[in-house]
């Protein structure tokens, strides 16, 4: 049996066994869960091979499974996050209900993601895509009754995406006679002009839903914020990347062959940039950390889409690098929220304050991830952002780069809101009992934040696989062209050398930290946050001095016009209108026998009247 089959079988069997192990013991369940993930990951990482190909023969359809360099790269993300978030999930799910349900769907969606990545034909791609959709759907509605709307929204949009993909798939089959992706690529040139437009558009719609692209993104904030946080880490970190994965393939193989190439690229890139800008504004407005991060995820995915859509070698590198980085830091942040929610019982930024001394390790993870998210050097996020900007500037997208830059700068606001809301500010008595999260939750976060630090100075660890993945899809080899060891170039030959930057930042930082910290450490003493200069007033214990209400009100007031229109509302109104229409069709069946008889007569009469036209 082939490695890929073994991994899939282990996943499915593990999911089933884990789900039913609840009868035995909760710990056995945990062990089985972790065991399944670890076993599959170890098998995967020990047997990485892009040459093998498995074919499952069904009489009329052949399912072909195998790894390509690109899917290998995404599989890194999936498995890495799956292992870390898996350990975290064990910690987070302690003492919660419906554990078996959670584990089952978690494993199933990981398996489905892996399946998507190893699919070399469109049918198995679609099968795994749908398994991923419904397993994640079941986790989105994990929290019960009040998330039904969210669940339906997610599922309907996923269905729209999936079905447009399905339509593309059957069209492709009718045109090329095969479901293989390679046949699609080779046969694309021979298709008619209409089909050449239709197929990429349908596919992009399908992938755009998962990548939360502009008009299709309305499910994302609710879905991300309502799933359990240990799953949202995967959801936002890895699952959304499946959309990116599909987009990369479409852009690399199909769009390049079109005469309207630039137009489509520009449209998608602009959609991505607008997504990024708008969702950043909405993220600033949120008071719930989960929703904040959810909107932030949409924004970050917008950048990735911009990079992928522009499609120059540097932009592709940027998009894929950002995809990895986003997986790393955003899942860390979701884990941070999950840890805080577990310890305090709420994730509302207005309620929780001053946890920095209570949960220092969580804070460190959050700080590093936030810096990476904001794209500040010397962490990994900067590298991706730099490449994105340079590629946009050198490929003549000046207004686009301004828009992207705007959303990236505005992202600072919610970054700060997140850190300040949870960790900084007044230390309230209400949270004085809070302890650091258990080690099984903290260690994955710290490992992930370490990865963002390392990638800041050694991005070649990731850029090399990306390069090989892109050259597999016949993009030029950029090894010496655009980047070298710790040094990135743009098209015009300008460069950023990362190592001296890291050293410089580190040296200056250490010098001044030492100057401030060690010089004053002995003479100064810690005082609580109640001891502040409030015009001499002594704050009472119960008085809440933290500034939380209307946190960025002035800014929001300035950008109000951009936030007036909500896609969500339009879509809901549309759905409402449809329901009313359906209510009208329901009235056709009025329960009256005579009416039905009249229908029958009318039916006959219409057929008779039309018989000349019908049966010519």
């Amino acid at each position: 049996m082939d490695i890929i089959n073994i991994i899939l079988v282990i996943f499915f069997a593990g999911a089933l066994i884990t789900a039913f192990a609840a009868k035995i013991s909760s710990i056995v369940q945990d062990i089985l869960f972790i065991g399944t993930i670890l076993a599959t990951s170890i098998i995967f990482f020990l047997n990485i091979n892009t040459n093998t190909e498995t074919i499952i023969n069904l009489s009329h359809i052949n399912l072909t499974l195998g790894l390509t360099p690109l899917s290998l790269y995404f599989a890194f993300i999936v498995f890495g996050l799956a292992v870390l978030a898996g350990f975290y999930a064990v910690g987070q799910m302690q003492g919660k209900k419906k554990k078996g349900y959670f584990y089952f769907n978690y494993l199933l969606s990981i398996a489905a993601m892996f399946g998507i990545l190893v699919s070399k034909d469109l049918v198995s791609f679609f099968i795994f895509w749908e398994i991923m959709t419904w397993s994640s759907y079941l986790l989105v509605i994990y929290n019960g009754e009040n998330v039904q709307k969210t669940g339906i929204k997610y599922f309907v949009l996923s269905a729209i995406g999936a079905y447009s993909m399905l339509m593309a798939i059957v069209i492709i089959h009718s045109l090329t006679g095969s479901f293989l992706i390679s046949d699609l690529i080779s046969g694309f040139n021979n298709m008619s002009a209409n089909m050449q437009i239709l197929i990429p558009v349908l596919l992009l719609t399908g992938f755009g839903v998962k990548a939360a692209l502009m008009p299709l993104h309305i499910w994302a904030p609710d879905a991300y914020s309502n799933a359990p946080m240990s799953y949202t880490a995967i959801f936002s970190g890895a699952l959304s990347k499946m959309g990116i994965y599909g987009m990369v393939i479409v852009f690399l193989t199909l769009i390049t062959k079109l005469p309207q190439e630039t137009l489509i690229r520009d449209i998608i890139a602009w959609l991505g940039a607008i997504t990024a800008a708008i969702s950043t504004l909405w993220a600033i407005k949120q008071d719930d950390a989960k929703r904040l991060l959810a909107y932030s995820s949409i924004g970050q995915l917008g950048y990735i889409v911009v990079g992928v859509a522009i499609g120059t070698p540097l932009a592709m590198l940027a998009g894929l690098f950002l995809a990895f980085m986003h997986g790393v830091f955003k899942s860390t942040l979701f884990m941070v929220v999950g840890a805080i929610e577990k310890q305090t019982g709420t994730s509302n930024l207005k309620e929780v304050t001053g946890l920095i001394r209570k949960m220092p390790w969580t804070f460190i993870a959050a700080l590093i991830s936030i810096i990476a998210l904001a794209g500040i050097p010397p962490l990994g996020g900067f590298v991706g952002k730099w490449m994105l900007y340079e590629s946009l500037i050198t490929s003549n997208h000046y207004l686009l780069v301004t828009l992207v830059f705007f959303s990236s700068t505005a992202a600072f606001l919610y970054c700060y809101k997140f850190l300040f809301g949870f960790f900084l500010g007044q230390e309230e008595k209400e949270w004085s009992h809070v302890k650091e999260a258990p080690a099984i939750m903290v260690v994955p976060m710290l490992i992930l934040s370490l990865i963002s630090v390392v990638l800041g100075s050694f991005p070649q660890l990731i850029l090399k696989p990306i390069n090989s993945a892109l050259s597999y899809y016949s993009l030029p080899d950029t090894y010496n062209n655009l980047w070298k060891e710790s040094m990135i170039f743009n098209k015009w030959g300008d460069q950023v050398a990362l190592t001296p930057i890291v050293y410089g930042v580190a040296i200056v930082f250490i010098v001044f930290a030492v100057f401030l910290f060690f010089k004053n450490r002995k003479t100064s003493r810690y005082v609580t946050t109640k001891d502040i200069s409030t015009s001499g007033e002594v704050p009472k214990e119960h008085e809440n001095l933290t500034f939380k209400e209307n946190f960025f009100q002035p800014f929001l007031r300035a950008v109000e016009p951009a936030m007036k229109r909500q896609m969500d509302k339009y879509m809901l109104a549309f759905a409402k209108g449809l329901e009313d229409l359906f209510d009208f069709t329901r009235r056709i069946y009025n329960g009256n026998g005579q009416t039905y008889a009249i229908y029958a007569i009318i039916f006959v009469i219409i057929l008779l009247l039309l018989s000349n036209n019908l049966f010519s």
Binding site: V527, D531, S533, G536, E537, V538
Partner: protein
Amino acid sequence: MYNDKNKQKIVDIIKNAARKHSLWVLAYGTGCGAIEVPATMTSRYDAERLGVRGAATPRQADVLLITGYLTVKTLKRVIRVYEQMQDPKYVIGFGSCTINGGMYFDSYNTINQLDLYLPVDVYISGCMPRPEAVLEGFGKLQELIGKGIANGAQQYKENLDFYRENQKKVIKNWDFQDYNW
């Protein structure tokens, strides 16, 4: 002859020279004296040319300027503000109310003598003192700093029990944290 003691002295002289010309004032605007401070700071009298400058919070300030009578309620806040200031710090009592109660000598809720509660470095007399007098007071403070004898903070630190006793005598609901050093 270079030795540790001399070195300390030289450093002190330099430090004092700097402190003397850079007085950041936290004007605690109680009573009617608050109206004299803007006049002192702005164009007519321009205290900034002496290095006197307003500070926004006690953490940044050097000089605590108490501009008038202090009720018991205000005194509590003033003590807290003083204790939040960082060394070196100085107190200027401003107007006769801080000296002996002034026209509020028999009020039921006003302290009469500031130096029982806070170590005052310089008093400026008058009801109210004109900006010229205020500038003169700053000049006096600078002189004292230059000589190294404006050591009110030191005095407060050493005689903390004395001050605490006096403060607690008038402030009945004593709920302070410890002194900040």
